[in-house]
């Protein structure tokens, strides 16, 4: 099980962001390094890639305010 964490260096400031979109639905099989979510911080679009390969488990729904270090979901081994 690998947590999907918002990396501390994804953006420069301490601003909060918004989880905009999950690219895959809950339960989809994803591959490490692939785009899995889009975030918005201020007016910038940021991308989050899968930290591991496996089954995507979504914990935070789109349009939710998020912070650096927050766990957005998990990747279960298949």
């Amino acid at each position: 099980m690998t947590d999907i964490v918002v990396p501390a260096d994804l953006w420069d400031t301490d601003d909060e962001g918004v989880l905009f979109l999950w690219v895959y639905t809950d339960g989809a099989i994803v591959e490490q390094g692939r785009l899995i979510a889009e975030l918005t911080v201020e007016k910038a679009q940021l991308e989050l890639n899968a930290p591991a390969s496996g089954r995507l488990r979504i914990l935070v729904q789109p349009e939710t305010i998020i912070k650096k270090g927050q766990v957005l979901g998990k990747i279960e081994p298949v």
Binding site: F20, A28, I29, V30, E38, A44, P62, V78
Partner: protein, 343 residues
């Protein structure tokens, strides 16, 4: 290790889908470069170039000062010299300062040089309002551009079309303009994502031919024509109409130039009723061109006068209630459809 990854269910925003096409073409062709404001560090005001500066460097992702007149001229000259430039203009509202380069050079050089000079220049431009950005940041101006010969205009309504039409633009040897309505681009700060604009997008390359309209929903009582954001308003209207027993067909123009006149006439011939929705200004607009198709080819197919739901000929108000009053939306399309049905 997980099993093989499939593309099934890979939902992308239009910004990301368009970008994927640009990056794929840039990897294959070193003559493609992107020039515009805020495209390198910021990644484009509307996310059109996120990540590109890291991969392609400052020589191919060129940040400019606020100088549209200059960099459209640069791009036009570069296209004549064999490059394949992409120009990023965040807001179509400011395209007026580039009209000489666009209308007199980019649109005409291929023709006036007898084909000696190609014009493989693509512009990617944001348009539209609905987020309280007032009269100088909310216009569509698509009919203004469509009026001049020599310009191809793609107006995708979802991410699948955004990618396919971008590939087509970048492979064309003429001036092409790829325009996305800001409210469907997939930007968090512009409000809730329209679910119907976020489509499943294959990873492989594909191109969508210009001039091929798309039927999003078949129907028999009335044809609802739109493009870009008004496709989504028309889909919402079709749902509301269905609840009242009215079957609406939703036709997406997809490209304004060339216009799929056959598809328009075929659909209206079937339903006998026509509503055209457009966020661009009413006067001499795309809605008028669509009505002209029917008037020229056979107005006898109409069982009732056609109705246009376009932007009133006033500057876009800043005030939210005033702007909402002006914008085409599902309720206005429903009312227009009912009018064609005498209800």
């Amino acid at each position: 290790m997980a099993g093989p990854v499939t593309d099934q269910g890979r939902s992308l925003t239009m910004a990301r889908a368009g970008r994927e096409a640009v990056m794929a073409e840039m990897r294959k062709n070193p003559n493609i470069f992107v020039i515009g404001e805020d495209i390198a560090k910021l990644g484009g005001v509307f996310g059109t170039t996120v990540g590109m500066a890291d991969e392609f460097g400052a020589k191919r992702i060129i940040d400019t000062p606020i100088s549209e007149t200059g960099f459209i001229g640069i791009a036009t000259g570069a296209a004549m010299a064999g490059m394949r430039p992409i120009v990023e203009i965040a807001f179509v509202d400011f395209i007026g300062v580039c009209f000489n380069a666009i209308f007199n050079f980019a649109a005409k050089t291929h023709y006036m040089s007898g084909g000696q000079f190609k014009m493989p220049l693509t512009m990617m431009i944001g348009y539209g309002g609905g987020y309280n950005d007032a009269a100088q940041h909310s216009q569509c101006l698509i009919a203004t551009l469509a009026h001049v010969p020599g310009i191809r205009i793609a107006t995708p309504a979802d991410s699948y079309d955004a990618k396919g039409l971008m590939h087509t633009c970048l492979r064309d040897d003429n001036l092409t303009i790829w325009m996305v309505h800001k409210r469907i681009w997939g930007l968090g700060w512009l409000g809730t994502a329209l679910k119907t604009a976020i489509a499943t997008v294959p990873e492989e390359e594909y191109s969508i031919p210009f001039g091929q309209a798309r039927i999003w929903k078949e129907g028999k009582d009335v044809t609802l024509v739109g493009y870009g954001i008004t496709v989504h308003a028309s889909l919402q209207a079709a749902e509301k109409l269905a609840a009242e027993g009215i079957s609406a067909e939703v036709l997406d123009l997809r490209t304004i130039v060339p216009l799929d006149r056959e598809a328009i006439f075929k659909s209206v011939s079937k339903t006998g009723r026509l509503v055209v929705a457009d966020e661009d200004y009413m006067n001499c607009g795309v809605t008028a061109e669509v009505l002209a198709v029917v008037a020229e080819r056979g107005p006898q197919v109409l069982k009732a006068p056609a109705v246009r739901v376009a932007y009133p000929d006033v500057p876009v108000p800043f005030s939210r209630p005033m702007e909402d009053f002006c914008l085409p939306d599902a309720d206005k399309i429903v009312a227009a459809a009912k009018r064609t049905l005498g209800k």
